[in-house]
């Protein structure tokens, strides 16, 4: 049965031309056959079929929601009532959530089927999905390579046809970077657009939830469902959510900026050429394109790693073995219980970040690191504010390289951190960004282009990205 996007598929499901249960079963079979990719931490087989039956009868009674029958995978940092919430960490390996995240509840309310929880870097900390208690996730394009991170499992689940769409989280590029590495669309919304309630906090002022999809239509569909002010999240914003489906293919010729700092040293030549190629085509089509400058760019990575580790060190304090989660067997007093539970329960990268964050908040160092970084963050945001007075959208590479080999960077955290060099600024500034798969390199690896817009301008991202959607 042919369909070009999820809405069409849902239409076929509703009209009975696609069997809802067969659809779920097909996904379950593919998941089984692609088990080697290790995209899922948990697959809810029986439950998904049960749910498919319920939704089928809802469809018959004419009361089904916007996502009726859509098969959705969610990153294992999102709370889903009565289901495991591990964050791919040993420390939460036995934890079952007692409530659902707002974003998860919203897709359930629209009658989506949650088929499983996807693998990711531990507590969403990583760029390659190599920091998971459940093991590496493999890139379906080339299984000797990483899928990117931290939402590696969610990206792979979409890229390898293990679900219709998926939810990931993006704190510094964790949606856009794996989308680029796997050759699919991924959108990081404006900070405050989607409720964070139920998203296990890594860096609270950076964390966002967004969709992965094979086409822009599906991205728009899911983003519309999960957006909106939530009373349970004080940082969510009461901002009108436009109908993103209606802006698809509207052919608007937005004014585009090319920030020169994002095309400097360190960028893979093939990626650079692919993007410049597109820029030339856009020019030919009559787009107004100008070079712009974001002078604070060189401070992005340093600022980002000071602030996110600071917040993480505090956010992860609750995992202490006292009330829930993993507790070491080996202790004779409270302090030992804390130390041993956390030493045994957290992986290396998480511990590194907790220590960095604890350091930058310590008395005597706070002003030099945390307070200074907060000031620089404001300057970075001002850079973007200025640029978005001149242009509607910014085009940049999503990543400096295409998907790298498993193990290639795992011994060099600094090099790993640099793979976020083009994505972290959007989280520092709180603006939305999208990855558009634009080409494949000479090795057949996907190349991604990032497009950024000002706060709450997702509409422009969706409209512009739909030009590149070949489905």
């Amino acid at each position: 049965m042919q369909y070009s996007n999820l809405s069409e598929k849902i239409g076929l499901i509703k009209s009975g031309r696609i069997s809802l249960i067969e659809n779920v079963e097909t996904f379950l079979q593919t998941i089984q056959s692609r088990k080697n990719l290790n995209a899922y931490n948990f697959v809810f087989e029986e439950e998904a079929i049960q749910r498919a039956k319920e939704i089928e009868s809802k469809i018959k009674s004419g009361q089904s929601g916007k996502l009726a029958g859509a098969v959705v995978a969610i990153k294992d940092v999102l709370a889903y009532k009565d289901h495991p919430l591990t964050c791919s960490s040993k420390i939460l390996s036995n934890f079952i959530s007692i409530y659902s995240a707002t974003s998860v509840q919203k897709i359930i309310d629209e009658d989506a089927i949650i088929i499983g929880k996807t693998n990711c870097d531990e507590f969403a900390m990583g760029s390659s999905n190599e920091n998971s208690f459940f093991g590496n996730v493999l890139n379906p394009v080339d299984d000797s390579r990483v899928p990117g991170g931290s939402s590696g499992g969610s990206a792979v689940a979409v890229a390898a046809n293990l679900c219709d769409v998926s939810l990931g989280t993006d704190t510094g590029g964790s949606i856009r970077q794996p989308a680029a590495f796997c050759g699919i669309f991924g959108l990081k919304p404006t900070y405050g657009r989607v409720s964070r309630y139920g998203l296990t906090a890594f860096a609270s002022s950076f964390d966002t939830i967004g969709p992965f999809a094979k086409n822009v239509h599906d991205l728009a569909l899911v983003l519309n469902v999960i957006s909106g002010k939530d009373e349970k999240d004080s940082t969510s914003v009461n901002q009108n959510v436009p109908d993103l489906i209606s802006v698809l293919n509207n052919q608007k010729k937005y004014k585009i900026g090319i920030p020169k700092e994002y095309f400097a040293e360190g960028l893979d030549v093939e990626i650079k050429n692919s993007i410049l190629n597109i820029v030339e085509k856009l020019k030919a089509e009559g787009f107004q394109i100008e070079e712009v400058s974001l002078p604070m760019t060189e401070y992005t990575i340093a600022t980002y790693y000071i602030l996110i580790t600071a917040e993480a060190s505090s956010n992860l304090a609750r995992y202490d073995g006292a009330r829930y989660g993993y507790r070491s067997d080996n202790y004779s007093n409270l302090e030992e219980m804390y130390i041993n539970s956390r030493t045994e329960g957290f992986g290396t990268e998480v511990k590194r970040r907790i220590m960095l964050g604890t350091y930058v908040l310590s008395s005597g160092y706070y002003d030099a690191y945390y307070r200074k970084a907060q000031k620089v963050r404001r300057l970075i945001k001002e850079d973007f504010d200025k640029v978005f007075q001149q242009v509607d959208l910014l085009i940049t590479p999503t990543t400096p390289t295409t998907a790298f080999k498993i193990g290639e960077k795992s011994d060099n955290p600094l090099e790993m951190y640099l793979s976020d060099i083009y994505t972290t600024s959007a989280n520092l500034a709180g603006i939305p960004g999208i990855n558009i798969p634009i080409a494949k390199n000479s090795n057949g690896l996907p190349i991604g282009m990032q497009v950024l817009a000002k706060q709450f301008d997702e509409e422009k991202l969706i409209s512009f990205a739909s030009r590149f959607d070949k489905t």
Binding site: L85, S97, T235, S314, A317, A322, L361
Partner: protein, 486 residues
Amino acid sequence: MSKFNQKYEPVIGLEVHAQLLTETKLFCGCSTKFGNKPNTNVCPVCLGHPGVLPVLNKRAVEFAVMMGIATNCNINRHSIFARKNYFYPDLPKGYQISQYEEPLCENGFLKITTKDGVQKNIRIKRIHLEEDAGKSIHDKSDTTLIDVNRCGVPLIEIVTEPDISSPEEAYLYLTKIKQIVQYLEICDGNMEEGSLRCDANISVRLKGDNNLGVKTEIKNMNSFRNVEKALEYEISRQIDALEDGEEIIQQTLLWNADLEHAYPMRTKEEEHDYRYFPDPDLIPLFINDEWYNKINHSIPELPDARSNRFIESYSLPKYDAEILTQEKDIAEYYEMVAKNSRDYKSASNWIMVDVMSVLNSKNISIKEFTIQPENLSKLINLISDGVISSKIAKEVFQIMLESNQDPEIIVKEKNLIQISDEKTILEIVKKVIEKNPDQLNEYLSGKEKVVGFFVGQIMKLTQGKANPQMVNKILIEELNNKKNKI
């Protein structure tokens, strides 16, 4: 005390935590009700489960602002919440949400009056909002049990400048704080139950020295008297140490009320580094004019203002006014009694003496007191109208306590109306004199003391109902008549 009055002076600052009487917790919808089964007033938010977020309770903000206004503070229209990070099993998130830089209220003061009548301002440095931690219960075996019910209950922390110079002043300051939170109805002010808690910073210095000495902090003083005792203890300890040429070590001490001794808990080096930073889960708290005005209007008349009004409107002595306004409910009871009675001072006396002694002996509050204010007014009016004597009134009061009846009915039913008819009294006087010739002779021979005997006999005969002033007057006249006849 005298020892340090001569050479040293103590410098004391207090940190008071007051538990706010909101229905729900500071950052979630759980009940704040005290005494529920352990770990029943809980939800994912106050349990610190992964992914939860705090949502600020507006009512708690209003209570904190009320306290700020009542203590003459500047209310910061823009304030921020911060995380105070430390590990403890009864702190589920591993941090307490509090305020650090930019608290809600700053730079206030509170007026206290010492025993010698000297007025003094105690400056208040800041008042901020924060959440309470849970409770750790260490049982007899080696285990520790945790009750999270209290976790997230709103507190205000009220911090003074080091303006307090004696344990007595500390006591007066605390009494004032308690009085204000009770007037505002934002905290029940019960230190024994922990809804009001106090920590003290103490140092001593030579009189006239402008520099502060090394301070210690005392925690765990769970009553007003304990605060005074602990402060006295620590001041003496520091002076003794200095006199012996020792240095004071900056440290935190825990007061043991049973042993009346403070034990070291940790030294400065062992202090936590709380790594305060703004809580990214909460947006800055902004109080606009409309909200501020609404809160300001909701502040009731405060104790000092009420005391002054009592002096003016009811012509009460300052002493009476202060005692009656100490507790809001008693002040309100007084006003209800005074409103319907014709003798304000008498109403004051009845409440300060008779009513309060009942409250004390039964250990009840005025709200549980059985005599309705309008009935007490009637009793007072019966006296001032001469219907019953003060002595009879005490009896009626006792009957009222038990039966909760209208005093006018009691007086009628029990036939307690005062005999004020001159003829009747004269007849009784004559009768008593006649019956007691020996005592009469004593009187005639100059022993005027026997007047008391005659009065007693008359009262006995009339069951206390005879108007005592009239009895005195008529008796003396009669006795003098007899004297003159000789």
